[in-house]
Symmetry: C7
Amino acid sequence: MQGQSQQQAYDRGITIFSPDGRLYQVEYAREAVKRGTASIGIRAADGVVLAVDKRIRSPLMERSSVEKLHKADDHIGIASAGHVADARQLIDFARRNAQINQLRFGEPIGVETLTKDVTDHIQQYTQIGGARPFGVALIIGGIDADGEPRLFETDPSGTPYEWKALAVGADRGEVRDYLEEHYDEGIDLDEAVGLALSALGSVNDDALRPEAVGLATVGVDDRAYSQLTDDEVEEHLVDLDLLADEDAADGDETTDDDATEE
Amino acid sequence: MQGQSQQQAYDRGITIFSPDGRLYQVEYAREAVKRGTASIGIRAADGVVLAVDKRIRSPLMERSSVEKLHKADDHIGIASAGHVADARQLIDFARRNAQINQLRFGEPIGVETLTKDVTDHIQQYTQIGGARPFGVALIIGGIDADGEPRLFETDPSGTPYEWKALAVGADRGEVRDYLEEHYDEGIDLDEAVGLALSALGSVNDDALRPEAVGLATVGVDDRAYSQLTDDEVEEHLVDLDLLADEDAADGDETTDDDATEE
Amino acid sequence: MQGQSQQQAYDRGITIFSPDGRLYQVEYAREAVKRGTASIGIRAADGVVLAVDKRIRSPLMERSSVEKLHKADDHIGIASAGHVADARQLIDFARRNAQINQLRFGEPIGVETLTKDVTDHIQQYTQIGGARPFGVALIIGGIDADGEPRLFETDPSGTPYEWKALAVGADRGEVRDYLEEHYDEGIDLDEAVGLALSALGSVNDDALRPEAVGLATVGVDDRAYSQLTDDEVEEHLVDLDLLADEDAADGDETTDDDATEE
Amino acid sequence: MQGQSQQQAYDRGITIFSPDGRLYQVEYAREAVKRGTASIGIRAADGVVLAVDKRIRSPLMERSSVEKLHKADDHIGIASAGHVADARQLIDFARRNAQINQLRFGEPIGVETLTKDVTDHIQQYTQIGGARPFGVALIIGGIDADGEPRLFETDPSGTPYEWKALAVGADRGEVRDYLEEHYDEGIDLDEAVGLALSALGSVNDDALRPEAVGLATVGVDDRAYSQLTDDEVEEHLVDLDLLADEDAADGDETTDDDATEE
Amino acid sequence: MQGQSQQQAYDRGITIFSPDGRLYQVEYAREAVKRGTASIGIRAADGVVLAVDKRIRSPLMERSSVEKLHKADDHIGIASAGHVADARQLIDFARRNAQINQLRFGEPIGVETLTKDVTDHIQQYTQIGGARPFGVALIIGGIDADGEPRLFETDPSGTPYEWKALAVGADRGEVRDYLEEHYDEGIDLDEAVGLALSALGSVNDDALRPEAVGLATVGVDDRAYSQLTDDEVEEHLVDLDLLADEDAADGDETTDDDATEE
Amino acid sequence: MQGQSQQQAYDRGITIFSPDGRLYQVEYAREAVKRGTASIGIRAADGVVLAVDKRIRSPLMERSSVEKLHKADDHIGIASAGHVADARQLIDFARRNAQINQLRFGEPIGVETLTKDVTDHIQQYTQIGGARPFGVALIIGGIDADGEPRLFETDPSGTPYEWKALAVGADRGEVRDYLEEHYDEGIDLDEAVGLALSALGSVNDDALRPEAVGLATVGVDDRAYSQLTDDEVEEHLVDLDLLADEDAADGDETTDDDATEE
Amino acid sequence: MQGQSQQQAYDRGITIFSPDGRLYQVEYAREAVKRGTASIGIRAADGVVLAVDKRIRSPLMERSSVEKLHKADDHIGIASAGHVADARQLIDFARRNAQINQLRFGEPIGVETLTKDVTDHIQQYTQIGGARPFGVALIIGGIDADGEPRLFETDPSGTPYEWKALAVGADRGEVRDYLEEHYDEGIDLDEAVGLALSALGSVNDDALRPEAVGLATVGVDDRAYSQLTDDEVEEHLVDLDLLADEDAADGDETTDDDATEE
């Protein structure tokens, strides 16, 4: 009881510390991320893979409008999890910064540079009053000018992390355990696509519908972001023995009528 | 008891997260949408249909002043549900953006572009302090430059969704069930008008007065928004065996004297 | 008990939603409207009539200072009910907009255009923080450029409604019932004046003093707002057998010493 | 008990409505007016009279510093009641507006115009946040360009009222009853001075000291504001048999050591 | 109990009225004035006298740093009581206004004009949010252009009062009683100095040290503010039989270690 | 109990008065001063001495970083006690003002002028909302243009005091008692240095380490601020028989790990 | 109980003092620092060493993204502990100031100057409302123009401290004890690297993995910041007999899934 009311005292003020040095609003924003379906990023030797869970709440909804995979620049893709409307703001911010960098320096923005532009922007919303933090986590993956694949995470506190492979959103813990067990640094892009799908499958009864999965890659060779078609995804699923029955396709999984997290 | 007082602690602050990562003010704004009468959008192969429930609270009120169908541009219509005064603000915003796009690029704005202009505007009211969210949902339907009919929803969180067919406002759940059961992607515009009316009828004892229904279409052929006359609606209702007795016409349904939701 | 304290939690913040999607401050502003005496508007085939209850709290007060009838432009009149000082702000706003329209476009402002200018202004005070809503309702009546009589209501939420006949302020419900029973769309301006007076009489023991009533018309023929003199009103009252004794004239009805609603 | 705590909930916020549509801060500002001593205004056929109670709290205080009668322009006087420092702000505002009108239009400002300039200014302090309402009521009396004497009241809500005769401040109710009983519209300026004094006397044991009364008139003939001397007041008091003993003169009546209302 | 919590409800908000029309913050600021030692002003036929209690809290403190007498202009002096740092702000404000008046109009500022400049400034801090009232009272004394000695008080509400003789600060009531008993309007400047000292003595066991008293005069003849030296004060004290023993001089009276009121 | 909760009601608002006319935030800022170690100022006939307690919390900390003695201008030094970061702001403010004075008037700033510049700056933080008061006290000592040594104190309320000798910070009361007993106005600078050290010693078991003491003087002859070296301090300590054992030197006294007051 | 609720009253307001003169928000920000892993700074005769604990929460995370060592300028390095996103803001601020100094004065910024630029920036966030303090401590080490190695700490209050050797973050107390025992002012840079590692080891069971440690030095000879490679670190660990088994390397220590402190 006591702990509860004490906690309430601190989380009402947007940008203040609790006695143990935590920022509750930031931690609650992380809960908003967990309310969204999972997104996965994997770095291979020759590129990066982004995979997202595109479950929809009605068969009448267009899956393409479940925006979880975004092209930030020719050579950088972003996967999001959490509050959709907030994600759109950050994606727009990232795209503008990528364009400005191209205009100003005549070269594509670095993946780390873009990530830190975004996290610095996020941090402002955790320190200055008059606004709430962003309720979204991003996976930013791309290829640097030197041909290196890079994979970053931004979280609601505005901290940038670099990963070999990671998951954000619902079931984050389980998917990360799966990745830690199966990831190998030497894998190639194709194997990474397979790992991403089997990781997603591991928290979906090992059965996925191609249209309920979003997959994008940025390869080292062409430094180009590209999203896979449903057919390409299906091929992978067949190969991985993860293809679900058609029946599961309509009005799949989410039950919350008003969900704005994905 | 405990849950209740805990909830109160979070919904007083406009733009902050609750411990489970929800934004109560946005969820309450969704309740404002549900207080409004239903609006329906259906995408056909050759156009989109918007249908609205125009019930009035007194026979002395002009039905034409129940503004739920709006022309945003020649090729885009919008149906709204929820807080009427808020809807007007968003419609004005959408119209201005459509005009600016025409002026700046010399071509009609895309349906998705317009939708995302609106949802980005809505999102600001959920993150920056000093204002409340918009208590309204919009259905934005139109024809893109490539001749594709498109149908979107904006909700109070500022998330854009694309649909084949959808309902917002009161009885949203029942109407959606009806649509899911009867919608077929191959239907033409005329069949879509019929489906919209029968869906509206399904939550009105299968009986509608022509003047209590608003109907608008945007066809692929002429890319032109047009509202149906009462006579045209009546013809459809007769065809569908949904025409109600004249008696039901006056002071129809709403009992709340001060309703500002429609 | 529970309901009460819960309600208190939401109505203190100016511009936020309650869990059931209502804006309490707007609803309380409607109560301020009901604290004012009644105003009536009726649309006839050849014009509109505005009628107001001008009861005063002391025989020493000048009835002419009970400002409930306002000329907004040559062809548009406004009747108000509720918080008087707020009404003055909106009337000034309306007059300025009418003048600006004349200057900018060289033609009189449309009745609906003017109404929506006003309601959009009102809406801002319900969404942006730092101010309270307007505690007043307006009846805006006039003749459009095409000779059509139009009659609108603005309420504290900023919603515009068009009516054939309506009442705002105290006894709104009873007057509306009376109007619904006796109104006929074909009536001419003279009959509409009679209907307005008998409607007012219906909630005043069927007896009115000419000086306690304000009456104004805008006719289709001359498109000119004009207020009736006490003698003209008395003639109507005699015709309608509604003329009250002289005794009733002084310090008529209102008992609240500090009333600022009319 | 319940009513009390409920009331507290609404009067802390400056500019919000209570559930029954009242603005508590405005009503409390009216209480501040009642804490001041009475001021009276009477309109005669040939001018207006302003009379104020100038009781002081110590014989060492200069009565002339009890500012309750103010010349706003050559042809307009103002009597105030309530919070003195607030009154000074409004008087300054009125004087500036009178001067601006003279400069801009080359003619003296109308009494009603000036009153409404002031009340519109007052209204702003009841709707926009960040300030409290004015705790003062003004009686504004003068002669219009057409030679008509006019007499207005401004109250803390910002509502303008026109009166034949009125009282504001302490004992307002009793003085008004006296005025309603004895006022006659045909009285001339001299009789109006007598009525004002006897009305003041009626709530002062029918005995007044000349120096404890302030009297000013604006006559129709010269359209000039002029204050009466103590000798002139004494003459009137002798005529009316209202002259008090000299003993009553020092440290007359007010006991509150820190009174800032007059 | 009830009264207490009710009071708390109103004094937390800076600029709002209590239900009985009082401004608590202003009244608490008056308490800050009473926490300061007394200051006295007396108007004689040929000038004004300002006298202040200059008690210090340690013999190591320089009495000259107890700033309670200030020269505002050549012909105007100011004595203060209450919060010292606040007094400095108002004295600076007064000096700037006196200089501006001299520059703009080429003549010394009137005493009443200066006083009202100051009180209007003070009033702003009681009505506009975001700041607290000034916790200080001033006695402003000087000679007008027509040779008239004038003596004013400003209080935390921003009300100007004119006095023949007055006291502010601690023991204000007792000193005023003494002044009411002994003041005579015909006294000359020298007698006024004596009256001021004996009034100060009346609340100090009729014994004063010259260095613990500040005395300044502005005479009608030279219109020049001048402070008396300790020797001149001592002469007066000897004459009045009010001179205290030397022993009383060190670390005199104030016991509060952190007093910032004087 | 009651007193406690009442107190809480007032100290949460930054700039408001309590019912007894106190400003709690200012008083709490004084507590922040007391949490710092002592600083002493003494005015001699031929200069001023500033002495500070430089205890450190670890032998690894550089004593020179314990900033309690500051050169404000060639002829003015400042000793601080309380919140270190706040002190830095005020020292910077003082230095800038000293430079501006030199630039603008071509002469060194007066000690009193500089002090009042600083206290007026401090006062603003106690009256205007949106910031807290400064938690620091300064001793400002120097030589005026006329060769007079001057010694001032600024406290968190923004009140300037002039002293012959004073102490601020921890043990302020005991040190002041010591100074009152031993101070003599005729002492020369060398004796003043001795008095400052023995006063510091009086609250340190009469034993001091040279490096734990900061000493600075401004002499009348050269009008130059100069800090004493550890060797010079040691000489004085030997002379005064106050030199402590070396053992006491490391990690001396402060136990609070996170102290930011000195 | 009582102490607890009293404390809550003060820490909710961002920038106000508690009755005992503390700033709770600043103290809670210090707790945020303690939640981060330890950072160490040591000043040698010929340079400074910065050492940080780079533990990661998953073997999939890139250690290089654990940003705790930063190059501020060629000759200055910074180690941080606490809230990572906040640290980034301060590092950016420091870098900009270093560049500006170079541009403006044509020479490298002094270590103390840079430190105080940063602490003054931090202080603003503890006094001005509308933002929270920075939850981070920095160790700023470098070589001054005169060849002197300097080592500073900034804490959340904005106080600058100079140290010979220090630790911030978790286990700060234990590491400081270790440093106090083993530090010698005469040590050279190589010995200082050893001391830093053994100090880190002392709170890690005397076993460290090279990749879990960050090490940087700025030497007096080349005045150049340089980070050590994992191999160089390993060499040192072998020399010090501190090398841990490989097993300990993956997913080392932190268990908190959402840690943003390091």
